[in-house]
């Protein structure tokens, strides 16, 4: 790209409020005429984007997508719903609107994966054979793994959680408002295992702090972030920056605290720590549930058999290609993929073209060559109108897309990307166009 193209693309991107977080790639120029049977398990962001790309790149293939879910949620927007800025309707769409023409949508859940027989079985018992399987089921929010906790408690008894869905995110916004009115202690934190959008627990802490300041109620609330490990964020420079910001804003941090149980009536939370269980009183708590693979995946041969990704059932995958090492015709994309860090829409944006291009190349008799570097992104909202555009790879190396945006600086332009840019880029990604 020469200087003129660079400026044109960059200017256009900024005018569009386009995120570096979801950088775009050209659509695969090559196609495959193979008459393969492709099954995509899951019609979330990864499943739909994959279906869109494969339906264009493999016009002779039979593509079946399996998912009972009819609503589609723009999950990166849940933070803004939780901040009280967006309505749930703004992040709720229909899967049918993004289903590519020619793709067969089986509106059922996958009940069983049988990779040894190259087949999946749906909830109604229907067996579907495949030549290639794309596992894109997403993950399961396991609220009940926290003793005393249930998703139905969100919005009640000072309990918030922006992860459960748009309505729960809106209920969380109302819970924050009530907390700021009454004052007291607010607890935040995250689970110990792999999770989607690991920046979200920090974002909601920053939002609560900023909202309290704007309402002149900061002195009435104590905010405590309970980090699951020895750091608040896995990428060292980001961890240092967030710790510095928490210190400057009076947000206390407890390290090595994992939420184990909650007593909603008494408003007490119990954390597992190295020194034993610790119980903290609260007036408000933002609960982030443990996240795991859906049961059908966990009960199949697909998950890692050992290592730190095995316990929660993440699908075994080769990091650069997302291909299953034991089942060569199986790939995993999105939250379910058993790779470090990549449970964001930004990762999906980069994972899907890699798998699609390689599948198209392979079935056309060419050598697959696309690789995924672990790119993920977090527009870390640090207040109303401010964010840090953090992008990094598998190694935790910061890889900013825009040279003029400092990833560790709170900027309005990064907020602009979060508030105005992401949704359009996300929709284009669902259609396989970004």
């Amino acid at each position: 790209m020469n200087r003129r193209e660079f400026l044109a693309a960059g200017g256009g991107a900024l005018l569009a409020g386009l995120p570096a977080a979801l950088p775009a790639t050209p659509a695969a120029a090559q196609t495959s005429g193979a008459r393969a049977r492709i099954v995509i398990a899951g019609a979330g962001a990864a499943g739909l984007a994959m279906a869109a790309r494969l339906s264009r790149g493999m016009p002779g293939a039979t593509i079946t997508i399996i998912d009972a879910k009819k609503e589609h949620h723009f999950q990166p927007g849940f933070t803004l719903v939780g901040a009280g800025l967006w309505s749930p309707a703004r992040v709720t769409e229909r899967n049918a609107d993004y289903m590519p023409r020619g793709v067969d949508w089986v509106e059922e859940a996958v009940a069983e994966f049988d990779p040894d027989a190259n087949a999946v079985v749906t909830a109604s018992g229907r067996r579907i054979d495949y030549d290639f399987l794309i596992v894109a089921t997403g993950l399961k929010l396991d609220y009940t793994a926290i003793e005393g906790m249930d998703a139905s408690l969100i919005g009640k008894e000072g309990i918030a959680s922006i992860y459960a869905g748009p309505n729960e995110a809106a209920a969380s916004a109302a819970a924050i408002d009530r907390f700021l009115e009454t004052g007291g202690t607010g607890l935040f934190g995250r689970p110990a295992g792999e999770m989607k959008c690991a920046g979200a627990p920090l974002k909601i802490t920053f939002i609560a702090d900023d909202k309290a300041r704007r309402q002149g109620r900061r002195g009435a609330v104590e905010l405590i972030y309970n980090a699951h490990g020895p750091a608040v964020f896995a990428v060292p420079p980001v961890n240092d920056k967030v710790k510095e910001m928490f210190a400057a804003r009076g947000v206390a941090v407890n390290y090595g605290h994992v939420l184990k149980a909650i007593d909603p009536g008494a408003r007490r939370a119990t954390y597992r720590t190295e020194a034993g269980d610790v119980t903290l009183d609260y007036d408000f708590i933002h609960v982030v549930p443990p996240m795991r693979a859906p049961d059908a995946v966990r009960q199949s041969p697909l998950p890692w058999q050992e290592g730190n990704l095995a316990a929660d059932g993440w699908v075994e995958a080769d990091k650069p290609t997302l291909r299953h090492p034991r089942y060569a015709n199986v790939f995993s994309v999105g939250d379910i993929a058993g790779v470090p860090r990549g449970k964001t829409a930004a990762s999906v944006k980069w994972q899907v073209p890699v798998v699609a291009d390689n599948l198209i190349a392979e079935t056309a008799g060419r050598t697959p060559s696309a690789t995924f570097n672990g790119y993920t992104s977090c527009p870390m909202v640090t207040g109303y109108g401010k964010a840090m555009l953090i992008e990094f790879d598998y190694d935790g190396t910061l890889i900013p897309s825009f040279p003029f945006i400092d990833p560790l600086k709170e900027l309005w332009v990064s907020w602009l990307i979060e508030e105005k840019g992401l949704l359009g880029a996300y929709r284009a990604m669902l259609r396989g166009r970004a």
Partner: protein, 124 residues
């Protein structure tokens, strides 16, 4: 950055703006036609473009400034959110979009009005 391309940008804009993108493009084309038409009318009338250009520059600048100041509100925040020069630069770039449209509209109207006054009479 190396992965941006005009086709992708178009699809993203289209998904972000929906029908408004086509309205914006239509308005842009209409105003471009208006500017070309205005220039041709001025030439035929033998009138200079100085006054229409001045009016367009002034109104375009004012519109850009106003829309730049509205950018934070458009993104559900306030002007205190501008934290650095890049924030202001991006806000001005975005403000330029309506600013240029306003300038084009003003130039078109001013040039037609100017041209309707007939050719400038020069002293012998």
């Amino acid at each position: 950055m190396s992965d941006f391309n005009p086709v992708t940008l178009f699809f993203i804009l289209s998904e972000a703006m929906g029908g408004f993108l086509w309205l914006l493009l239509a308005a842009g084309l209409l105003l471009l036609g208006g500017v070309v038409f205005g220039v041709s009318r001025l030439r035929r009338a033998g009138r200079p473009a100085k006054r229409p250009l001045m009016a367009a520059a002034i109104m375009g600048t004012v519109a850009t400034a106003v829309f730049t100041l509205l950018m934070p509100a458009w993104t559900l925040t306030d002007t205190g959110a501008f934290a650095s020069g890049i924030d202001v630069a991006v806000a001005v770039l975005l403000g330029l979009v309506p600013g240029v449209l306003v300038a084009a509209a003003v130039f078109t109207m001013a040039s037609l009005r100017c041209a309707s006054r007939g050719p400038r009479v020069r002293a012998a």
